[in-house]
């Protein structure tokens, strides 16, 4: 069955919007580097969400205007950011007290692989000789209540990223709650992966074909939308 790999299904922006719709009003949220950052642009009107960046800022705002960049006001990806009215700064031990102490409600991360049990691999490609670097990823998955993964469903080479068992070094075991891909929204449950929603025009068989782990339909999404 032909599926135009990464172009199929939802766009990156639509994926980010799918995530944003599932973040309740009043949440404290940590967004990983890359695609997760897009989520901040799709918070539905009327909801107030506060962004945490682990290098010591609660109340992170958008990028600064050109010429207003401050090298001492950055995010965890070392990009220039702003601070909203009501923001606060703190040191690293307090920042990870917020994370490890389970005070952050939602964290959205990218992934190399996610297993059917919610194991996540997103820090190391496992290539020999590469300099390993982990940052705060392992602390985030160990401490944040709701770990959402946003990722393309398959790799550029066409390999499934949603797998029975991760082959790459793990970031955490059984930590992912929900997976948002360009093809579907998947819930990690005791019974395996459940399809909450599929991208328009996609059939279940087609979705399963591009997923290494077995899927089941959620009862409410069995009807075609």
């Amino acid at each position: 069955m032909e599926l135009d790999k990464n172009k199929a299904g939802w766009s990156k922006e639509q994926m980010a919007q799918n995530v944003a719709l599932d973040i309740p009003d009043g949440s404290y949220v940590n967004l990983g580097i890359g695609m997760p950052e897009l989520v901040a642009g799709f918070v539905p009107e009327g909801r107030e969400v506060i962004y945490h960046t682990e290098n010591g800022l609660l109340g992170m705002g958008p990028e600064p205007e050109e010429g207003k960049e401050d090298p001492e006001l950055i995010n965890a990806g070392k990009k220039y950011v702003t601070a909203i009215q009501g923001a606060c700064y703190f040191h690293h031990a307090d920042s990870f007290t917020m994370i490890r102490g389970r005070h952050i409600d939602v964290c959205v991360l990218g992934a190399y692989e996610v297993s059917e049990r919610g194991d996540l691999a997103n820090w190391s490609t496992g290539k020999p000789g590469a300099v390993p670097a982990v940052g705060g990823a392992m602390d985030l998955v160990a401490g944040v209540r709701n770990i959402f993964v946003i990722t393309k469903h398959i790799t550029k080479q066409g390999k499934p990223k949603i797998v029975q068992n991760c082959q790459l070094p793990l970031t955490g075991k059984g930590v992912v709650k929900r997976i948002y891909t360009n093809l579907a929204i998947l819930e990690v449950t005791q019974e395996g992966l459940v399809v909450n929603k599929m991208a328009p025009g996609l059939g279940f068989d087609e979705l399963q074909e591009h997923t290494d782990a077995p899927l089941t339909m959620a009862s409410s999404s069995k009807k075609s939308r």
């Binding site: 090298p71 001492e72 040191h91 990870f96 705060g136 392992m138 075991k173």
Partner: protein, 238 residues
């Protein structure tokens, strides 16, 4: 009279011995005490263990310290960044040791070191390659790893303002590891963008109480590391 202000960078880093463990504040460029690091290069101590979140950019700051072969081992969470060239090369040649520590575990190990706590249990990195060789224990059905506190001989920290007692405040996200590193060293050496009179810092808003600081040097116009990196500067200045 207590006055922790020292007149020069050379005096600030005086007495650092070969083989010392040194914590260096900063998250990338933000909060990195670049003038103190350069003074340490001039001072000459070698065989150092450096505790810092990153390994520096270009050929200045921590990267220059590493390039001058003063560092035996790095303890950090993210040893490569966009402009990090020196560490990856030496690491791939097996010429420098790396202890990779998750960022929150690194912060807590430093906090514990400063608080007189030899070890603690954390859920971070359980079930991953970084749990190897570490003691585990189950509390309320969940597995935790034992991690050790870290203490240093010296900490090099950048802050925004200091008074002569060593009370400090920081600037925005340049605070990062500074306050906890101040607590965890035998000798904490601070570079402050400005000195203020006693009483000028609101006691309710002091971030680092002066008891944690031993020496302060005033650097009113610290170098802009990303500018130095983009212009390809090397320390000592070429």
């Amino acid at each position: 009279m207590i006055n922790k202000l020292v007149p020069s960078l050379a005096e600030a880093v005086n007495g650092v011995k070969d083989g010392s463990v040194i914590m260096i504040s900063g998250f990338g460029e933000a909060g990195s005490p670049i003038e103190l690091i350069h003074a340490l290069i001039d001072q000459g101590a070698k065989d150092l263990t450096i505790v810092s979140n990153n390994t520096g950019s270009g050929h200045v700051g921590i990267a220059s310290l590493i390039e001058h072969r003063r560092v035996r081992k790095m303890i950090c969470s993210f040893p490569r960044t966009t402009n990090s060239v020196v560490f990856p090369e030496l690491y791939s040649q097996g010429e420098i040791e790396l202890e990779l520590v998750p960022q929150g575990t690194l912060a807590e190990r430093i906090r514990a070191g400063g608080a007189g706590i030899p070890a603690f249990y954390t859920p971070t990195s359980v079930g991953t390659p970084l749990e190897e060789g570490k003691e585990t224990r189950v509390f309320d059905g969940q597995t935790y790893l034992m991690e050790h506190g870290i203490k240093a001989d010296f900490s090099l920290v950048k802050c925004e303002a200091a008074d002569r007692y060593g009370n400090l405040v920081y600037n925005k996200t340049a605070r990062n590891f500074g306050p906890i590193m101040c607590t965890a060293a035998e000798t904490t050496i601070v570079q402050a963008r400005g000195m203020v009179e006693l009483g000028e810092l609101d006691p309710e808003a002091v971030v680092t109480p002066g008891i944690f600081v031993q020496r302060i040097v005033e650097i009113n116009h610290p170098l802009d590391e990303s500018k130095l990196v983009s212009e390809n500067w090397r320390y000592p200045w070429n």
